[in-house]
Amino acid sequence: MLRGKEKYKTLFWSAFQLSACTFGGGYVIIPLMRKKFVQKLHWIGEEEMLDLTAIAQSSPGAIAVNASILVGYQVAGVIGALMTMLGSVLPPLLIISVISLFYQAFRDNAVVSMVMLGMQAGVAAVICDVVWSMGSEIFRRKQALPIAVLFAVFAAVYFLDANIILVILACGMLGAADAAVRGRKRRPIGEKKEEARS
């Protein structure tokens, strides 16, 4: 693992690059971060990434910025969080500053809209890929409750447009209740697999 300045630099530039590619909404940064910080740099665990997403989602502000702050904090504390925050805010700041000079021309440009249309397909593929990977991780454990939660939350959020905060609260309480019942039955919680931080 890198140390000191090098680590801050890597954090800043990683966040900068990922943020510059976050087309199509905040969630798109999750597969990008997973690729970079979980699979390439091994700074964040697979399940930890899901936890950080839950925190980013339930905190105020943009998901992409929140997730960046969380990863930075985990890797290098408060200064690390500052680095990833700056890295994730600068690309939109710079891009919009430039575009605001000629925004009508940009908005009505045919070439720009053709590229954007094609990119929508790529963004959809990226999101499907991460749902596929993360979802199969949950199905592989063959535990009824998480699988039921997965379907119930999808139905609630997609079809019923449920309030995200309420959904997160309900699932958190359900998880806590489940753990309490398991604890009383003296079944080892170990099968939930404690993820070891590397």
């Binding site: 905040g26 690729k35 839950a54 925190i55 904090y73 890929d129």
Partner: protein, 187 residues
Amino acid sequence: MTLLELFWSFFQIGLFSIGGGYAAMPLIQHQVVEQNPWLTMTQFADIITIAEMTPGPIAINSATFVGIRVAGIPGALAATAGCVVPSCLIVTLLAYVYYHFRGLAAVQGVLGGLRPAVVAMIASAGAGLLLLAFYGESAWPEDPGSFNRVNAVLFAAGLLALRRWRVSPVCVMAGTGLAGLLLYLAL
């Protein structure tokens, strides 16, 4: 004074927008169109369109746009800073709590309940993006004939590249953008 107003307006937007970009839109509209005479409704609609075409969160994009129009570069910086300060404070605090207490059985239970929920929420966002890519709108289309075959092919190719050859997501997005341009120009 204007800088302070910009900071404060976007501070409130940053503090009260929970649950992603589209939740922030009415808040932004309230602050920059109704509360303050910074943008007209048409300009607001334009900035939403541009925010969708460019990377980055809608709140940051509109902060920069409004800031620059009202007070130049310092305005953009003040508005953007206002937008992220609440995030920085609250998220850092939550991160601290998470890393100190996640070993506890109860916290493990809560997190175990949240993980499948998070996957479901990403899937829900993905379903909207999929419809947007195929039909040009994120709700179920009224006219199924508007199916975009070029984008369906690009999507399939992108997914294959990601799953089969482990191509990086960034390359896939750039690739489908470029291929889209060539295909739409050719057709």
